[in-house]
Symmetry: C2
């Protein structure tokens, strides 16, 4: 929600979580309202269980007059009956409405949202279940917020470079701009986001700094805003009429899952093999027994044969082969923990790369998969 | 970190995020210290880039005397040189130390942590990069916190039941206990956690309520604490000497990836096929062309053939076959969006289940994978 609000030119001053305690909730409400914000979003604690106390705290804090929505209560009963369940009496609380407040329809659940206007602050009280919170947000709130502006906040997304190296390369740009606009570096194992906004100086045009950044380190940026590398790769493959299939050992399905998380990826993704055991590598991918015995399952040679095997067996344009040691055990002096080989097999572009990524198992799977996606991006689209 | 602290009998009163602004950081520090907490953990903003201002805010807020650790600075230089990089001058800030503070060694990065003692509050300032934060936590902080108590906080993890149904079934237990201990329901699409603590009444023994819960709804709970369903399934398969392989269509590798996220899962997981295209279903899994043409790729029959196919082809004890429509497009009147068939093929237990899960694509993949894992748990371990 924070990200969404920033894109609507709303500065998120504070995000705070407190305990499910009436006193704690009210103390925080008072302290937040003292700052006279334009908006205050409250989530969680509208459900029917005993620990859902937010609604009552809001009611007593703002001294709201309660009413009962018999019609909604009857609708709820029918909903439960349709699912073959007797409605628990505790759900009665969800049919409570407040005078002088706007109740916000919940398209995905039973707990309605509440809009309270207090002095000059617009307060939205929403369920904590993300899918319900989002549904109410888009249904009732989205249209009354300031219009989205693509020129007031820009996030550039980099992969394959560290935060400090990126900052060093951008040194001159930072010196020139950091007093005029807000520039934040947000690093994770899946890349570095550079977030720039002109909220304090709305007249400044951000396209100029973006241009400067692109001319110096543009190659590292795969996208902007909320774009994901997997989305960029799926779009790029579509545009270039290329199909993809993958053979994964240590990433264990993560690469396939990054790709298939993108809607309509089925138009470019033929399929994948999670070749965890050597028998699967040999039987499904035609990796030679000799090669495994001679070089080990974690080797450049096996990665290449996996990539070639999946491409040939599925008749795709690009095949990826990955083999490595994600840990936490399995390393040796020759082949340390974190070692991974990523091979790409295509009509023109055959490559294999070796990395040693010192990180925990899940991060290792994710980072390795992202390197593979970035290899596709670099060799096939960014020429 | 919050979860970790609660397991150490530390009540987390508040979690707050503020902007990278000196004034905002100091206002928040003051307001948190007014409450005289025993501990205050601060993360983020110790890096070398211009937006990393936390260290300086801490220094001026607590009026700390600065010193320079020439030895550490030289070590940093060597570290960078080893990676073939000239150390940016901005990294100089990371060799700053403070008098009367304990500097905390960072085993995974260059920014040291800081321990400040202020009145009766112990303050830890840590990097925001999770891997570095955790490393310093375990290296320098873990051993000085109160001893972990398995009897003061218990989280029971359920799957396959809604929050309100679970609360309804636990109605009598809740009535009896809710005034003595804290009981929170934490729902997500991957289950409902029931978290119970006796922090306000430390003399109360939680084993009694846990026993009551288990006797009423124990079947729904797959584990406790931070145990994950995928871990429980991998452990169960190991214990029962069973091997597993999976054939996924709509889940697109997510099920394989849940399994392979567990260390040493290679001892029970043979491999998986992400059978996104019909050609992969037919060529790798022996799904009959006829069956697809007659029933469609999303059908009970295809799910069963996928499960049988992967089990036979990989010679495993249990095969899973999944086919469905994760969306956001692809539904029809007969086969609505969210429809999914999950088949399990084993020596004795053959089952196929149909679900319609109305949720977004990624949640659909995750929930479907979790249902499959839970089917393995129910049919093979919990007899």
């Amino acid at each position: 929600m924070g990200k969404k609000l920033v894109s609507r030119k709303i500065i998120v001053e504070k995000i705070v979580s407190v305990r499910d305690q009436d006193e704690a909730i009210k103390f925080e409400l008072q302290s937040l309202l003292n700052k006279k914000p334009d908006y205050l979003f409250i989530t969680g604690g509208l459900g029917p269980t005993h620990d859902d106390i937010t609604q009552n705290s809001i009611k007593t804090f703002f001294k709201l007059d309660e009413d009962f929505d018999q019609k909604y209560y009857d609708t709820l009963k029918v909903k439960f009956a349709e699912r073959g369940i007797d409605m628990p009496e505790s759900n009665r609380s969800q049919a409570i409405i407040y005078k002088n407040c706007k109740m916000l329809n919940n398209p995905k659940g039973t707990a309605k949202g509440i809009e309270v206007n207090f002095n000059n602050t617009k307060i939205f009280v929403l369920p904590g279940v993300p899918i319900e919170m989002k549904a109410i947000f888009f249904d009732s709130i989205n249209s009354i917020l300031p219009v989205e502006s693509k020129n007031s906040l820009i996030t550039l997304r980099a992969f394959g470079i560290s935060e400090s190296s990126l900052a060093k390369k951008m040194n001159k740009i930072l010196d020139e701009w950091k007093s005029k606009v807000e520039i934040a570096f947000l690093p994770s194992h899946l890349g570095v986001d550079v977030r720039i906004n002109n909220l304090v100086n709305p007249k400044i045009n951000l396209s100029e700094i973006v241009e400067s950044i692109n001319s110096v380190v543009g190659n590292y940026f795969f996208g902007s805003g909320s774009e994901k590398l997997e989305q960029i790769v799926v779009d790029g493959l579509k545009l270039n009429n290329l199909t993809l299939s993958v053979a994964e050992s240590c990433t264990g399905g993560k690469l396939a899952n990054f790709i298939t998380s993108v809607p309509d990826s089925s138009s470019i993704f033929i399929g994948g093999i999670v070749a965890y055991s050597n028998s699967v590598k040999m039987n499904f991918l035609d990796v030679a027994k000799d090669t495994i015995e001679k070089n080990g399952a974690v080797s450049e040679e096996v990665a290449i044969q996996m990539a070639n095997g999946i491409r040939e067996k599925t008749n795709s344009d690009i095949g990826i082969g990955i083999t490595g040691i994600s840990g936490p055990t399995g390393g040796s002096v020759d082949k340390p923990l974190g070692l991974v080989f990523i091979a790409i097999s295509g009509k023109q572009n055959n490559k294999v790369k070796k990395f040693i990524l010192k990180m925990d198992r899940v991060m290792h799977q994710e980072t390795t998969s992202y390197i593979a996606l970035n290899m596709i991006r670099r060799y096939y689209f960014r020429k």
